[in-house]
């Protein structure tokens, strides 16, 4: 009885003595595994990035978003108004923060400098708390400012840089779409979300939206309640209030869980596609390995004859060839994991996101490679093990 380490070593030896061919044989497996690992790592990285961003933007489990339209139309009619927001603030039970977004276009002029920020937004005084972004210089506008339609503006760093350079903008007068404003605060820096510069933003009291931006229509209302389990009740309230006001359901709500579900659905669909690609490439890779193993058995007929003539049993020869096939596939999987991880890291590095090492996918890749190597190695190994010793010794390559 021969121990298992020896056929393993024998297999490893013949693998090393044929490095290039072993590598080419397993190329299918390498590519398949690398592709899967890259995509899964990137997906995981993107997911954790997006969830992290959502978290940092205040999207806790106690939050929800009301958006106009029924949620299925691509370009919804903007049905939510400033007045809706006022009524909702009065009537939603356990309301914590309510932040309507009136998004428009505002040309900001300071002295001779003119600039149009990506976002000029009507907001509520809840903005700093709701979106976890406070004013780092000066102050945010108050509820009283909003109610009295004071012409004050809080701006992001990008606008500060464009209009004021290194000077403090606090107390300076600018015009937005020709209307005079006083800068009272500068927002904490947020950086970019995906490709959007989140610091390229000017916030004015929502009550001034119609006057300044020419619209009192709301893109979305962000709401938080005191406790996570009050979200359902709040949705109830919102549906009653808005349906009563609009006489139809022309709005819909998202919860944070809903967003996570959507992201997960996208990622799962992606994982599904990736798995299908992987399965096909591993199948092709496996057939390639079987093919090369059959060639190897023929080429090494004499070696098999010699081994048998000095006492190798069928089982020994079988194990030698199965191990070789498993080793080739597993090495391919390992190389694929390394290449895939590096590729994901590189791509994510350029996207300024962090790659997540896809451990789960790596484990599955190893397991699948093991199974593929075994499955496709068995037939050639059986052929090898059943060779007649005398015939095999007579074989001339």
């Amino acid at each position: 009885m021969i121990n298992l380490l020896d056929p393993f070593k024998i297999a490893f030896g013949s693998l090393l003595s044929n490095k290039l061919r072993s590598l080419l044989t397993t190329l299918g497996v390498i590519i398949g595994v690398a592709a899967v690992i890259t995509l899964v790592s990137m997906g995981e990285g993107a997911k954790s990035y997006i969830l992290g961003q959502i978290g940092s933007w205040g999207m806790g489990a106690n939050s929800l978003v009301i958006q106009p339209g029924t949620g299925d139309a691509t370009i919804p009619e903007l049905t939510l108004t400033y007045d809706d927001a006022v009524v909702l603030r009065q009537k939603i039970r356990h309301l914590q923060y309510l932040m309507p977004e009136f998004v428009g276009r505002g040309r900001c002029i300071y002295g001779k400098k003119s600039y149009i920020p990506s976002y000029t937004m009507g907001a509520s005084a809840d903005y700093p708390l709701a979106y976890k972004q406070k004013a780092v210089e000066g102050r945010f506008f108050s509820e009283a400012d909003d109610a009295s339609r004071r012409r004050v503006v809080v701006i992001g760093k990008t606008i500060v840089n464009k209009l004021f350079g290194s000077y403090s903008p606090i107390g300076e007068k600018i015009t937005i779409n020709g209307i005079g404003f006083t800068v009272i605060g500068v927002l904490e820096e947020k950086g970019t979300l995906l490709t959007n510069d989140m610091d390229d933003i000017a916030l004015i009291p929502g009550s001034l939206s119609e006057t300044v931006l020419g619209t009192n229509k709301i893109w979305e209302i962000f709401i938080t309640v005191e406790k996570d389990d009050q979200v359902a009740q709040a949705i109830d309230d919102i549906e009653k209030i808005l349906t009563a006001r609009h006489h139809r359901v022309d709005f819909h709500t998202h919860t944070q869980q809903g967003m996570i579900d959507i992201i997960n659905n996208i990622l799962n669909a992606m994982t599904g596609i990736v798995s299908a690609i992987a399965a096909i490439s591993l199948l092709v890779g496996g057939i390639g390995i079987m093919n090369i193993m059959l060639v190897a058995v023929t080429e090494r007929t004499r070696e098999i004859g010699i081994r048998k003539s000095i006492g190798a049993k069928q089982r020994d020869i079988f194990l030698q060839f199965v191990f070789e096939s498993v080793l080739i596939t597993m090495s391919g999987a390992l190389i694929g994991i390394i290449i895939g991880t590096l590729a994901a890291w590189l791509i994510m590095h350029f996207l300024k996101m962090e790659a997540v090492i896809a451990w789960g996918a790596a484990y599955s890749a190893c397991l699948v490679a093991f199974l593929v190597g075994t499955f496709f190695g068995v037939y050639p190994a059986v052929r090898a093990s059943r060779l007649d010793p005398v015939e095999a010794l007579r074989y001339e390559a």
Binding site: I306, R307, S309, I310, A312, K313, D316
Partner: protein, 243 residues
């Protein structure tokens, strides 16, 4: 054992331990519808410590007989025992065990594994016997010493001369202390000087008590052995003790 092979073989019963007992062994190859009767009824007894040469014209069945004695092949009919074990009744696995432990085969073309060095080639039968690494190395280097190759242990077959390769093959055949060494034309691929050296090595091994059967065309080589069996058309033509 109830069978008395000695009467059938015609060799004198000395009471010594019998290593090979062959009784009416036939081997027929089927080439399509054509039957090739390679062995037509061989009877032979080889006792412990014998040094036997098998001679005969090409195609008379010498290799076929060696393969059967070496348990690489099975007779179509008849009986064969090695160390009084009826090997014709064993399954493939047990037969592999006999090849591994009871017989050592030396081939005309050496049949070393080209990718392994000398010591690794000698270790192979020990691997299949389940020996550990340390034990294997020790035994293999001892054997390479015996065949006079202690300075060539880490050379690959491609770096060895024919005579040296055949010495490695002999060391390999000796690895598991077999009861019997079989050599099918061991000097057939060697120049006469190397051939001489190999036959002297065989003589030396025989003097140490190892039982040897060699196939050769060469009368000088056969002259070093103690007994010559001549085959013709798959039958024993003559069987004479010369020493």
């Amino acid at each position: 054992m109830t069978r008395d092979g000695s009467k059938l073989s015609g060799s004198s019963a000395t009471g010594a331990q019998v290593v090979v007992r062959i009784r009416d062994v036939k081997r027929i190859y089927h080439l399509g519808k054509v039957e090739v009767r390679a062995l037509q009824g061989i009877n032979l007894i080889v006792e412990k410590g014998e040094f036997l040469s098998i001679m005969g014209p090409s195609g008379c069945g010498k290799s076929t007989l060696m393969h059967i004695i070496g348990c690489l092949d099975r007779p179509s009919s008849g009986h064969i025992s090695i160390d009084e074990v009826d090997v014709d009744e064993l399954d493939d696995n047990r037969l592999a065990d006999i090849r591994n432990r009871k017989v050592g085969f030396v081939f005309q073309t050496f049949n070393l594994l080209p990718k392994l060095n000398a010591i690794e080639n000698v270790e192979l039968p020990l691997i299949y016997a389940g020996a550990g690494f340390e034990e294997r190395r020790k035994k293999a280097s001892e054997l390479l010493n015996v065949v006079g190759l202690n300075d060539r242990m880490y050379h690959r077959p491609s770096e060895l001369s024919g005579g040296q390769s055949q010495r490695v093959a002999i060391a390999r055949a000796l690895a598991n202390d077999p009861s019997l060494i079989l050599a099918d034309e061991p000097t057939g691929n060697l120049d006469s000087k190397s051939g001489e050296e190999i036959i002297h090595l065989f003589e030396e091994l025989n003097n140490r008590g190892i039982t040897l059967i060699i196939v050769t065309h060469d009368k000088d080589i056969a002259g070093h052995s103690k007994r010559i069996v001549r085959l013709k058309d798959g039958l024993v033509l003559s069987d004479e003790k010369i020493k």
